[in-house]
């Protein structure tokens, strides 16, 4: 398939998902209920300690994998199980199909196993002439519908009861009404017969315990118990990442998995099978056969990778999907292979085919919400970036982005171009502060949102004027403006100067500063990123400042972390970068450090306001509490929290260019949550979020104003 064709197919699958009201309704209902359910389920549990224990134990399991597999094999074998190591998907498929034939199996029941979906086991068994029935209700529905699961834990979450009734009516050859309890009963009766008659049961495993040779399933329906109890042959297909050390680790997984997956205290059943147990066939009790297929299929490659080995810590709870803003919009089917969401793209990259992960990985906004909840503490967005970087290295990043990065790296050219743009745009904006209709290829971007105009005078010009007053005697702060403040929102820069000067600093604008490199990073263009990092480090050393401040969290992270990371191969530059990074503060953090207190006069300010947590700000800089404190200290400012204040606004760097169709509904949700607070003011600490949210508010003709924290503080200081 050509790349263009590939792209079009991918875009079409996204459009289809976005138009699927049933799926979007179900996903958004679940997403709404999930955080509270999860919180309640974890009540009384030290969740951070539990996450650390799991992440650490799973990490160690990865390091000792060979021994663990050996120990598991020994112990399971001692208890009468046959353990087969399948290097590839084909090995696993072949082994199971041959076994079925050898044991004269005709009918097979299966309980849910993502590993079996991963290798298309059902197709292989069917080709071998076997009758296979899924027995997990969701999986059975998916099987009847001839589809793929759209969620690791809730495979049929995208289907309506009417659709399910349709599939049931066809299968059972009678008219089944869309009545959920009735359909569940029908399924019980239909599948019960299949359980009683099956010769072979195939299960997955949520974990496998090396010390005891035990395999375990964590389920709600009870189908896994029947699958592992009734048929005379039991096959467990287990990914090797599921092997853990002992019962203590098992207890932790049992503690976390159901709570994280669906917000349940525990699932109805947790079943542990150790070796061969008897079964009853035709009134006779006889020993059954147990075959455990330990499957690699790309897993050990993932483990050997110095970066991606962290994904080993995954326990497949899917809580990363449950909180993912992108997944909530598009569901699981657009992620290419079987595994969905950010972690899905990573697993697909290793278990299936890197090219299958290529498009879906782009869906990640990099917001980091998933990492916050992940029981395995996996830095999913960082791994996605790493994947993107490797893909870019292999295939290049495309001509247009390359040209743009060359442009942003060329400070002078970029600035003169933007100046031209600021003059040229006036016919388009009609003198208004927003571009309402863009006549060129960005048209889709303006559907839900107005784009801001380029400021007539960039901040660098304003800064030069102000610096004339500096004496060189006070604390020196170098301001890193970043593109948005420099060219679109210079008034935020002015506010930053006002507040810091009030706090006894003199602020400078190092003229040589360029783009922070984040856009290049998010596209995987390490060359451009490195070039920009050097340029900025050199620029920020100017005048040996006490602090370097930025009022854009993306820039702050770039200057605080990325410059150090990207220059680490070059000792001299690495040292310089570390020195610079140590002085970098985000605006609000510095304001707090300097003891800024903006009194404001009673009633002089807006009254009720709400606060939006920008992704980098909250998850990289961990600053959520600081602006809330600074802002509520201003007299007359009363905070009304919005729902999901920490959910991404949909801006996410170039996301709104890549996926305007997903970014738009994410923004709409944010705007609804803001509106629901009834406040006339929303505060943020990120100019990117200002751009996204202001554009959305403008398009809605909303009277709600959006302000950067610096602006409010500056205003309060002026009035106070």
């Amino acid at each position: 398939m050509s790349n263009e064709q590939h792209n079009q197919d991918f875009k079409a699958s996204i459009q289809k998902a976005l138009n699927d009201q049933v799926m979007r309704g179900a996903l958004s209902r679940f997403a709404d209920a999930y955080p509270t359910a999860r919180k309640n389920a974890y009540e009384g549990v030290d969740i951070e300690a539990l996450r650390s224990e799991i992440a650490c134990a799973k990490g160690k399991n990865g390091e000792n994998l060979d021994q663990l597999i050996q120990l598991f094999t020994e112990n399971a074998t001692k208890r009468g199980a046959k353990v087969y190591f399948a290097k590839t998907a084909e090995d696993a498929n072949r082994y199971i199909a041959n076994l079925a034939i050898e044991k004269k199996v005709k009918k097979i029941v299966k309980s849910k196993s993502m590993a079996s979906e991963e290798i298309h086991l059902n197709d292989h068994l069917k080709k071998a002439g076997l009758i296979v029935n899924e027995t997990d209700l969701g999986e059975w529905i998916i099987q009847l519908a001839g589809q793929k699961p759209s969620h690791m834990v809730m495979p049929a979450i995208h289907l309506s009861k009417e659709q399910v009734a349709g599939y049931f009516s066809k299968e059972l050859k009678s008219d089944i009404p869309p009545d959920i309890p009735l359909m569940v009963q029908k399924a019980r009766v239909e599948l019960r017969t299949k359980f009683l008659e099956a010769d072979m049961g195939i299960s997955g495993a949520n974990f496998a315990v090396a010390e005891t040779g035990t395999i375990a399933t964590v389920t709600n329906e009870g189908n896994a118990r029947l699958t592992t109890t009734l048929p005379r042959v039991h096959v467990a297909l287990v990914g090797i990442e599921k092997v853990i050390n002992d019962f203590k680790e098992a207890a932790n997984i049992i503690k976390a998995l159901p709570k994280s997956a669906t917000g349940q205290l525990i699932t109805s059943y947790v079943t542990m099978v150790t070796g061969v147990t008897p079964t009853e066939v035709d009134g006779q009790v006889q020993d059954k056969e147990l075959h455990i297929v330990l499957m690699d299929n790309g897993r050990s490659d993932m483990l050997k990778d110095p970066k991606f080995k962290q994904a080993w810590q995954c326990i497949r709870c899917a809580s990363c999907l449950n909180v993912c803003p992108a997944y909530q919009m598009v569901g699981g089917h657009v992620y290419g292979h079987i595994y969905a969401g950010g972690i899905g793209a990573i697993l697909t990259f290793f278990f299936n085919d890197p090219t299958d992960a290529e498009k879906p990985q782009n869906l990640c906004l990099g917001c980091g919400r998933c990492t916050e909840v992940c029981p395995g503490k996996i830095p999913i967005p960082d791994l996605i970036l790493e994947m993107r970087r490797r893909m870019a290295q292999k295939k290049g990043i495309g001509l247009i982005p390359k040209a743009i990065f060359d442009l942003v790296a060329n400070r002078k050219l970029m600035h003169s171009l933007l100046r031209v743009a600021s003059i040229g745009q006036f016919p388009l904006t009609g003198g208004k502060p927003f571009i309402r209709h863009l006549p060129f290829f960005f048209s889709e971007l303006t559907k839900e949102r107005s784009l801001p105009a380029v400021a007539p005078k960039p901040f660098r010009d304003i800064a030069k004027e102000r610096e004339k007053k500096n004496t060189g005697k006070k604390k020196r702060v170098n301001f890193y403006a970043g593109c948005l403040i420099d060219f679109v929102y210079p008034h935020i820069g002015t506010a930053v100067y006002d507040v810091l000067e009030h706090a006894g600093c003199e602020v400078y604008f190092p003229w040589e500063q360029a783009c922070c490199g984040a856009p290049a990073k998010y596209m995987g263009d390490t060359d451009s990123q490195t070039r920009l990092a050097k340029q900025n480090v050199a620029a920020m050393e100017e005048g040996n400042p006490d602090y370097i401040v930025s009022a854009c969290p993306t820039c702050t992270v770039a200057m605080m972390e990325d410059v150090v990371e990207v220059l680490k191969e070059d000792p001299a530059w690495h040292e310089r970068a570390k020195k610079v990074a140590a002085k970098v503060r985000d605006f609000s953090a510095l304001a707090e450090e300097l003891g800024v207190k903006a009194p404001g006069k009673k009633k002089s300010l807006k009254g009720k306001f709400t606060y939006h947590d920008s992704c980098h700000y909250r998850r990289h800089l961990h600053l959520s509490d600081v602006p809330r404190k600074l802002l509520t200290e201003v007299a007359g400012m009363e905070l009304v929290e919005m729902k999901d204040s920490d959910q991404c606004c949909g801006m996410a760097g170039s996301y709104l260019v890549k996926f305007p169709e997903i970014s738009a509904p994410i923004l709409q949700k944010k705007l609804d949550n803001i509106a629901a607070t009834g406040s006339e003011l929303v505060c943020v600490d990120c100019p990117g979020c200002v751009m996204q949210i202001a554009g959305g508010l403008d398009k809605r003709h909303s009277s709600v104003k959006i302000r950067h924290t610096a602006e409010i503080l500056a205003e309060a200081l002026r009035k106070g």
Binding site: L226, T228, F247
Partner: protein, 184 residues
């Protein structure tokens, strides 16, 4: 944790998982309660998986009085048509409101899986604080890891269609736990 405290946590959590919890003083009272429950359920056919502890409840006799059929044959097809399965379960777990059932006999397991209602009789002094404790205790008590063990928490459930919680998909739609104060 005191046993009363363990009981109150168990009861609360089992309630969250939609299990019914009863507490009685003696094995004989457990037998009476089983008969009452079976009557209330209007069950026609029940199955008991015989163990010495379960026989102590004398529930065969109390059940006989209710006129219900106690099937004497124990196989999967017979179990498939019974209304109630009755078992002794040796442990419970407070933290999760679960009963913990180590059972290697396939019919002992099937009794807890196939009927629409499962009644479990559990000794009061075997409510253990956590899942980790249960796993540790069972290995000590049995001298080895039992071949098949289940934590059972409430009825069988699914939310696979439109996220609507529905009870009794493959396993029982009712779980009745009777805790007995009198020692084993």
């Amino acid at each position: 944790m005191s046993s009363e405290k363990l009981f109150s946590v168990f009861k609360e959590k089992a309630g969250v998982m939609s299990a019914q919890v009863h507490r009685v003083g003696t094995w004989a009272q457990a037998g009476d309660l089983i008969a009452d429950q079976v009557k209330e359920l209007k069950a026609q056919r029940v199955h008991l998986f015989s163990t010495p502890q379960l026989e102590k409840t004398n529930c065969r006799a109390t059940l006989a009085k209710t006129g219900v059929t106690i099937s004497d044959k124990l196989d999967r097809h017979e179990l498939d048509i019974t209304d109630v399965g009755i078992t002794y379960v040796p442990y419970a777990v407070a933290e999760t409101g679960s009963i913990f059932h180590p059972e290697t006999d396939p019919l002992g397991r099937a009794v807890t899986m196939l009927s629409p209602t499962h009644i479990a009789v559990v000794p009061f002094n075997k409510i253990l604080p956590t899942v980790a404790d249960a796993l540790e205790t069972v290995v000590k008590d049995f001298g080895a890891v039992p071949g098949y063990m289940s934590f059972i928490s409430g009825p069988s459930r699914t939310a696979d269609i439109e996220r609507v919680l529905t009870i009794g998909v493959h396993g029982p739609s009712k779980l009745i736990v009777i805790l007995v104060d009198e020692g084993v």
